[in-house]
């Protein structure tokens, strides 16, 4: 029986086949899915901010791209994953509201995506698909059998990447 397991905001989870991971309403946040095909292991993080080094005491590792990705890899290795097999798919990083000014806060979606790519690059995890940017929210599902990532939106269609 397939179970759909929800990943909240600033949260991450790891499951094996046949379970499915989902996170709802990604706006400027980024959903980072890692997949180990050989053992059908998936992990999903819903990060809010790019860089944990900007604060002193980081209590929630899943909140930041850098700490979340490291933790995700660590947990997947614990479950028997092999990091040389990991591939990543990412979605989200939209700009929900547009103001005239160039406020940093409004570009947070873009910065989240840039940071996510940098960190995955540094850790040598290839990004094989992405659906990022735009000005709309996304709900995603990640499948442990195929590694597929389904993106659902309001008014911008459904697609699998």
């Amino acid at each position: 029986m397939q179970k759909i397991i929800k990943v909240g905001m600033a949260d991450l989870k790891i499951v094996k086949y046949p379970e499915i991971l989902t996170t709802l309403g990604l706006g400027s946040c980024v959903g980072i899915a890692l997949y180990d095909k050989k053992i059908q292991l998936i992990g999903l993080a819903h990060i809010m901010l790019p860089d944990s080094r900007q604060i002193k005491n980081n209590a929630n590792k899943a909140k930041f791209a850098d700490t979340a990705i490291n933790l995700l890899i660590e947990e997947m290795v614990k479950e028997g994953g092999n990091r040389s097999r990991f591939v990543a798919k990412i979605a989200g990083g939209a700009q929900m509201f547009s103001f005239g000014g160039n406020s940093d806060v409004m570009k947070i979606g873009f910065r989240n995506v840039v940071a996510t790519k940098e960190i995955l690059g540094d850790l040598k995890v290839p990004i094989i698909a992405e659906d990022t940017g735009g000005n709309y929210g996304r709900t995603i599902e990640v499948y442990s059998d195929t590694g597929g990532l389904l993106v659902k939106t309001i008014g911008h269609g459904i697609k699998e990447i």
Partner: protein
């Protein structure tokens, strides 16, 4: 500096009263605009974990219209005026004098919604400004119609670096026939809590 976690009951009472006065004025403005009686609930000061924010609005995937403002000046923060999608259609329908409120929102409706948000937030902020004697400025409105989770992640992220919790002063407004239901959120930045509380005679 105040942290969200440090606020005591008296602080929360004061913040609730801020919401009461601000939203009271906004409710009056809305009643005038659509010429209907508007009921306002007692404001609630909510201190929420990120995960619980969207649940206040019927789940992360429910479609809502959010009109978002930056507040600047002596205190900084944000205002968000939120309507579920049916309320948005009804409200613009009323403003446009339509018979049928089921029509999808077009460009004209979207700019009408922004303007409603603008007027209501303006009256909220100006009453807050006269109450506290603080200089408060409002940015231009920005509208987004999408999943509640995606929209509410925006204020959550703004708090993200300083806290794991978000403080919202929420007031529900609705018309007498229960057709238009709106949520009004004032989200002060944690750094300016003390300015806000001091201006109302509450000292840390």
């Amino acid at each position: 500096m105040f942290k969200v976690e440090d606020l005591n009951n008296m602080h929360l009472d004061v913040l609730r009263e801020v919401g009461n006065i601000g939203a009271g004025n906004a409710a009056t403005a809305l009643a005038k605009m659509i010429d209907k009686k508007i009921d306002m609930e007692v404001p609630i000061v909510k201190i929420l974990d990120y995960g619980d924010i969207a649940n206040t609005l019927g789940g992360e995937e429910s479609v809502v219209a959010g009109i978002y403002f930056d507040v600047e000046g002596d205190i900084t923060g944000n205002i968000m005026f939120l309507l579920d999608v049916n309320s948005s259609k009804t409200l613009t329908g009323m403003l446009m004098g339509r018979e049928d409120y089921s029509k999808d929102l077009d460009e004209m409706d979207r700019s009408a919604l922004q303007e409603v948000g603008n007027i209501l937030s303006g009256s909220y902020i100006s009453s807050l400004s006269s109450l506290t004697g603080l200089n408060l400025l409002l940015s231009i409105p920005s509208l987004c119609i999408d999943m509640a989770g995606a929209i509410l992640s925006v204020p959550a992220i703004q708090f993200g670096y300083v806290s794991d919790k978000v403080l919202l002063i929420e007031t529900k407004l609705k018309d007498g026939n229960d057709l238009v239901k709106a949520n009004f959120f004032l989200i002060p930045n944690a750094e300016t809590f003390s300015t806000l509380l001091n201006s109302l005679g509450v000292y840390d």
